[in-house]
Symmetry: C2
Subunit: 452 residues, 2 copies
Amino acid sequence: MTEPDEMIDRLEELIDARDASGASALLEALPAVEQSRFIDRLDDDTQEDLMMLVTPEQAASLLEKMPEAQAEDILDGLAPERAADIMEELDSDAVADLLGTLEDDEAEAILHEMEPEEAADARELLAYDEDTAGGLMRSEFLAYPLDATVGSVTEDMRSNAETYTDYDVQYAYIVDADERPVGVLRLRDLLLSTPATPVTKIMLPRPLVVHHAMELDELAQLFDDKGFVGLPVVDDEKKLVGVVMRKSVREAAADDVAEDFLKVSGLGGREELRSMPLVVRSRRRLSWLSINILLNVLAASVIAAYQDTLAQVIALAVFLPIISDMSGCSGSQAVAVSIRELALGLVRPVEMMRVLGKEMALGCINGLALGALLAVVALLWKGNPWLGAVVGGALMVNTIVAVSLGGLIPLALKRFDFDPALASGPILTTVTDMCGFFFVLSLATMLLPHLV
Amino acid sequence: MTEPDEMIDRLEELIDARDASGASALLEALPAVEQSRFIDRLDDDTQEDLMMLVTPEQAASLLEKMPEAQAEDILDGLAPERAADIMEELDSDAVADLLGTLEDDEAEAILHEMEPEEAADARELLAYDEDTAGGLMRSEFLAYPLDATVGSVTEDMRSNAETYTDYDVQYAYIVDADERPVGVLRLRDLLLSTPATPVTKIMLPRPLVVHHAMELDELAQLFDDKGFVGLPVVDDEKKLVGVVMRKSVREAAADDVAEDFLKVSGLGGREELRSMPLVVRSRRRLSWLSINILLNVLAASVIAAYQDTLAQVIALAVFLPIISDMSGCSGSQAVAVSIRELALGLVRPVEMMRVLGKEMALGCINGLALGALLAVVALLWKGNPWLGAVVGGALMVNTIVAVSLGGLIPLALKRFDFDPALASGPILTTVTDMCGFFFVLSLATMLLPHLV
């Protein structure tokens, strides 16, 4: 047993002995990811005990550092009263993010136990779509009226320093009588001005604001274009309702890439941790595998239709899985390029002809290379050039089909608002398998006299 | 032709007519990702013309917003003198990033043309490993001596406001006579103090510093643990040499996830854009495909060894690609979970027994479900329960093998310092194909009397 594993046992003992300060001291000595890993190793009951044992502040800080799936799992198991106490220690956007991962009735039970004001804040944020400015913003921000001065603002910041530290303040906003943002104050400008200066004199007027429904893509572009650290978010009446931070947008965008990875790998984009219950993990993976096996049976039915040919040239059976796998690989490369180009905004879904042209050209070169290679293998093995021509030719043609389709499928799915990362793989492999089996077996049937 | 495409034509005309202000006006009216897409659509010569036409500042700002692969491609085509002019408009870390993507002799040619001082800065940064604090830091920062006062610092900031705006200043560092950082000044503390205050009074003493060789993983953890926006980087003598920003660390970490995606998809982790030359794209994709086809031939040789059995039960040929594909899918899910858990630090490479236990349990459930499904398909099709037992049993056993291996391979690769995202897929599919083919065909050989 390695040293850290002994420390996990030690943590378990401390929790079992209800030693709150011992358990927190052990955890606090660890870096964040090790904290998450240690907690991940405890069984569900012990995790719950730990969350009851430490202070709500400590529990909140532990939850905040965990991968979302892990935090969700733990919150799930906690009594709503305790979960509410912990939620009250977190930023409004963190509360909304965590409650958003739970089932509606579980989130409601926790909200019910929270301070009415904080629950109302969280409910408001929860009402926004996850990947919009409203869903990404925090409702804590600094706003001052038009008649404020540098002195009054500095005075307010000084006297509320405690509260504002948590706000991660970079700007303050100047709002008119209708709570509409009319200017932005930068900290550095406050620094360089005398107390009597009216804020209207040093604020940047007509600030850029974003509507709460602005989508993640557009926000990410905006932050890329301009150097802002945060942007004010307004509602339909143009009232200031929150601030969306560059950091939150970046994190959400990075999560999207990670999600694509989980989707392409057949995990439906949801994070799986091995500490989750076996049935949950098994069910999630099976939901995708069971669709896939049916698609596989469909593709294999093409082979079944050519059993007579196969029976006469049994060597073909050796090449069918090769052609299926190689076409899948060639196609996946093209899928990945399209998904990346879509994510980077370098291709638009309507540009199908451009992608088709580019991929067909590449398909011809790679198809020729791979087809020739496979033909040589077949020739060396059986000494029959016709067999080489059949399997090599089929692989060549199918490579062109696979890369063209692989390039186009993500664009087509995106155009009709389906998720390219989720659906491209199964569609691609089913179609390329069917085509590949058809090419090799129909070609073989035509050339049967030369093959037997 | 859609409207934006007409605008690309218009851009091309403006460039051909050498209309610098027209071309910049058109580009500047676009959001960043559209700028990159427009430039991506121009042919290589026109891209080069554009970079010569606009000012170096404008060219720098265009390059900075592009995906790295695109910027590399454009820099590649520019005369070193022009490239050097453009580089001089960028932050030291951006210069190092861009030059780092070029071949050594190309980067050297550009450095040779740059102002000696800026070239020296870039060379220094280039000497550091890419994913370390040194490689991620910028060499622009604010440092003041121990005897500075709030007044002298504010005065310096005020008079150099122009230069410092580009530094993205959040902190200033206080250094001793040996240039070692001894304190951090926060902007907000400057704001709340009188000019006569010595900086030593308001600085945060004994600042956390990181050594230039600290790796990305560790940096990401550090920024996750603490709320810093930036951290001072020191050399072997503990001298302050740069500042690594949270932003750069986050970006590098997000790039790593994107790279994993490109590796798993058989693109070797390098970004491919469809605007790259056909031969480059084809060669890069083929380098992986040609390894893969050899592994496929190796796996298929198992089938070749059982030709006699296949010839007698030709229906088996229909199931071979299904078993190969389904095992691959089950295994990929487990690979993805391991790669994610490794990236999140939730599993360590030595925990192989834990992963094996978790995956074998899951493999039994999913193997049973998928095996039963395939057995039913075989039974319905041929009416022979023995055939169902052979293909269903083989898929069941092979699913257990595939998920166990899929979970373990990334850990084993990581342990011996290979890249899990790059090598897990090919190793997994080759082994599971060989096992799957062996299970179904050897089982069929044993039960041959019941199958014919």
